[in-house]
Symmetry: C2
Subunit: 264 residues, 2 copies
């Protein structure tokens, strides 16, 4: 089944999740297809949130936004339904996690807007294809993520610090890692920092705020990318009456191919 | 004066326009700085319009959006004032041009949102720097623009066909023209079509819908780029109670340098 889902189309994998028969993280499924973070908010917050994304494209690269009330991501998967096609969701009321359902049909209303934001799976695949190791994949754990002292650009009610993910890269591969990830600005793009964690307000590189710690070997440089947890972290601060996201690692799989979103 | 303004900073040129002492097209002023199309709309239309831009990034590349009521483009020129710093504006009521003032202070209200969208000046400069001729600059006329049969992706009330600009490019320079303009996705980026005008619904290449006709010499291929007139043309169709834009050729000059917005 797992091998089948890796070589399956995005549509096939979404159909399996829609049926409710399977719930698992989406990494490596429908290989080569762009996966996305989901954020669902009330339409009264939608302009501010879209503006926040527009002003902070590295942590919040917008792939698709639904019409208010529509669960259909028309640009990225026109036959999909954001209420059922992800394996698992998280529901927050006033900033508090209250549910982790396998579909969100009972929560959905005509006032909701769904935002799909690019995620790092695309550029991690590109790093691996370039022979550049990705530590947390080797270690089969979550990527380490840190709150920084870099403020996002405020938009309406949304403001807060950027969250970054860290990957230790061998010094001789750092330039190539910048080149490779620069090709994918819709999936966080080029790193935002490399080297001294303290320079961006990270006190202890061995204690991430989210995800798991990973070792940095001699000769490796910690390289930091803007992270898709940023918009959730920022939205949480606003404590919206209702916010729904994907569950960590349980992403939305679009019809787009990674290479279709490469800039050159 | 003109030579001075060409080598002046963006801030200096904006100050001259703000004083009301000079009104002229902005091409070549504050050389090397990014210039932008302006669209001002009521905040009730702002989400739909921002979504339209997000879904149609080639004709509508967003550089900056003001907070509702603020005339300050905080990302691109934090000391500027969109009400006074352009040389000339156009005011439309219910889709009809009613005024062409030198400032818009008397029209501005707390409900207004200003959108700055990238324009073609940046990539035209890059073409010239690569030795690729730009016909309408040689001819000292306006670039020819055409309505196409390519529908933009609808967003809320905003929909309509893409408008394109056309530049005849010598066949041997076409690949380089694609490469050069691909570097600037925030200024319309790569062409959307080359060759047969009929394939995108253009009946007569000698009769543009906007701007001036230019000759296509033997051995040249007509190359079409998404055009910043698109959002105005689409917004006009909605006939908003009030819409304000820059006057053609009288752009907003940002503090950003062209190269800062190149993808690689």
């Amino acid at each position: 089944m797992s091998a089948n889902l890796q070589s399956a189309t995005a549509q096939e994998v979404r159909r399996v999740f829609r049926s409710g028969e399977l719930c698992r993280p989406t990494a490596s499924l429908a290989s080569g297809h762009v996966q996305a973070n989901l954020v669902v908010l009330d339409k009264s917050l939608a302009f501010d949130f879209l503006l926040f994304c527009q002003r902070n494209p590295k942590p919040c690269p917008v792939l698709d936004v639904t019409e208010p009330g529509s669960p259909v991501p028309a640009l990225t998967a026109p036959d999909a339904d954001l209420r059922t096609d992800l394996p698992k969701y998280r529901v927050y009321r006033n900033g508090v996690l209250v549910d982790e359902p396998l579909d969100i049909q009972s929560y959905w209303t005509d006032d909701m807007v769904g935002f799909l934001l690019g995620c790092s799976f695309t550029f991690e695949r590109a790093l691996l294809q370039n022979g550049i190791p990705v530590r947390h994949i080797e270690a089969q754990c979550n990527v380490p993520m840190f709150r920084t002292n870099i403020p996002c650009v405020k938009a309406g009610v949304f403001e807060g610090p950027m969250v970054v993910s860290m990957r230790p890269i061998p010094a001789q591969d750092v330039v190539r890692a910048v080149q490779v990830t620069s090709r994918f600005p819709s999936m966080h793009g080029a790193p935002i920092h490399m080297g001294d964690p303290g320079a961006i307000g990270i006190a202890d590189i061995t204690r991430p705020d989210f995800g798991d710690p990973v070792p940095i070997h001699p000769g490796e440089i910690p390289v930091f990318w803007a992270c898709g947890v940023t918009p959730q972290s920022v939205a949480m601060h606003v404590k919206p009456a209702l916010m729904i996201t994907h569950a960590p690692g349980h992403m939305f799989i679009t019809d787009l191919r990674d290479e279709q979103l490469a800039v050159l």
